[in-house]
């Protein structure tokens, strides 16, 4: 049986893992390579590595850090941040990334998704979507959550699926860093809207939040950062608890 995935996310700025609340107020959370190895050993199903300053500062992701992590770990590995072109994706895959997450560049140029899916296969194209409700409607944001767009979350999700996205990484900006649970209603609606896997992100605070995101939010995977970085939740214990609640996980 296909299992639900637990995915620690390493937000990287200036070579360090950082974590903020609602996308701002960043705190240092350690060396990304040390954390990546630790998470792989504890049973993480996948890692996501986001160079969160890349789009804003207009520079490419640190290929060297990607390479160092890829050498060390034996679980799949998604890289995002500032990915804009076929050449960017090619370089990341050549540096050992298994999948690439694209956010702003896909909004600015949706055709990029089909181009990448055709060249590299849809399975390695993860479309990251940052959204929050504005007047009750979930609106997509770009450039690390700093700019609102007119795009509706569900319309955009359907569009990226049709263009060839292999997976959606949905971050609720309203929940991110709050530790009050995931955006389960929006997640469940998203799962009804598209037929590709959904990674839930934003709001993990307790083991119960993970149980709910799989049961009510219908997520295929759950991503979190600070609860793992600051040892609030241990991945191996979390997966044991999920197993006890009859959620299929790799133990």
């Amino acid at each position: 049986m296909l299992t639900k995935r637990i995915i620690p996310c390493l937000d990287i700025k200036n070579g360090r893992t950082v974590k903020g609340v609602n996308f701002v107020d960043l705190k240092d959370a350690g060396d990304p390579i040390v954390l990546a190895k630790k998470y792989a050993q504890l049973g993480a199903d996948e890692l996501v590595f986001l160079d969160i300053s890349a789009t804003l500062e207009g520079r490419s992701t640190w290929l060297q850090t990607v390479l160092e992590i890829a050498k060390e770990i034996n679980i799949p590995f998604t890289v995002g941040g500032g990915v804009r072109s076929v050449a960017d994706v090619n370089m990341l895959l050549q540096s050992g990334a298994d999948k690439v997450a694209i956010n702003s560049a896909a909004i600015k140029n949706p055709e990029l998704i089909s181009l990448l899916a055709k060249k590299f296969g849809k399975q390695c194209i993860v479309i990251a979507i940052d959204a929050k409700p504005i007047n009750g409607i979930w609106k997509v944001h770009l450039a690390g959550g700093t700019k609102a767009t007119d795009l509706d979350l569900f319309d955009w999700a359907k569009t990226v699926e049709n263009l060839g996205a292999g997976e959606i990484l949905f971050t609720s900006m309203a929940h991110d860093g709050t530790k009050k649970g995931f955006a389960n209603k929006a997640l469940a609606a998203l799962s009804e809207t598209v037929n590709i896997p959904i990674i839930a992100s934003g709001g993990a605070g307790s083991v119960a939040d993970f149980i709910t995101v799989f049961k009510s939010g219908k997520a295929d995977a759950a991503l979190a950062a600070s609860v793992f970085h600051f040892n609030t939740i241990q991945i191996n214990q979390l997966k044991q608890m999920l197993h006890q609640h009859e959620i299929p996980v790799r133990l």
């Binding site: 639900k4 799949p76 296969g121 390695c124 997976e167 590709i196 295929d220």
Partner: protein
């Protein structure tokens, strides 16, 4: 060079190279036919789209080289699918090493299948020391149906072939290079396959 990874411009060849390094093995990335023919072990990787990947193999003339190899050959993911007769993806003719046609998962399932699933009904020394229902990492939209050459099965909606073998040719749908210690064991087993299993 003992181990070569065929470099034909697709996907994450580096992660296979790094997994072999972790086993203490240096592999060479190459598309040179003579180097490939002379290697003790050959890996055909692949993450990408079937028709363009097959075109790349043809451009390097490797579609003629690979079927004549006598040493153990391991196709991974798309590499395995290209070793079959045909794949629905891009209506692509394959290398015809495995006698089966690759099909698309139905829309009643989430496609692609992405994540960790179990392998069972394990056959051959490729799976030596691997316990039944071990988890492997899979990410794919197309699958090989169960056939006589099936050496491992996985269930996603229904059972399908997650590994195939004929003579010296092996193919795995999952990514051993990204499937933890068990995946590394499978790569190690491939490197240690006895010569008796390798004769065509």
């Amino acid at each position: 060079m003992d181990v070569v990874i065929i470099d034909y411009g697709v996907g994450n060849v580096k992660s296979i190279e790094f997994a072999l390094n972790r086993l203490g093995v240096q592999a060479l990335l190459t598309q040179d036919a003579d180097t490939i023919k002379a290697a003790k072990r050959v890996i055909l990787p692949g993450v990408g789209e079937a028709s363009s990947a097959m075109k790349n193999l043809e451009t390097c003339e490797l579609h003629r080289v690979i079927p004549n190899l006598k040493q153990p050959v391991l196709g991974i993911c798309l590499g395995m699918q290209l070793m079959c007769n045909y794949t629905d993806e891009g209506q692509t003719k394959g290398l015809k090493l495995f006698n089966t046609d690759v099909k698309q998962f139905p829309n009643s399932l989430k496609v692609p299948q992405m994540g960790w699933n179990t392998i069972n009904n394990l056959k051959t020394n490729l799976f030596k020391g691997i316990k039944p229902n071990e988890y492997m990492y899979l990410v794919h939209s197309y699958y090989a149906p169960i056939c006589s050459e099936t050496i491992a099965q996985t269930t996603y909606g229904f059972p399908y072939a997650s590994a195939l073998q004929k003579n010296n040719f092996y193919g795995v749908q999952f990514h051993p290079e990204r499937s933890g210690h068990a995946g590394e064991q499978i790569l190690k087993n491939f490197l240690e396959l006895p010569e008796a299993n390798c004769k065509p």
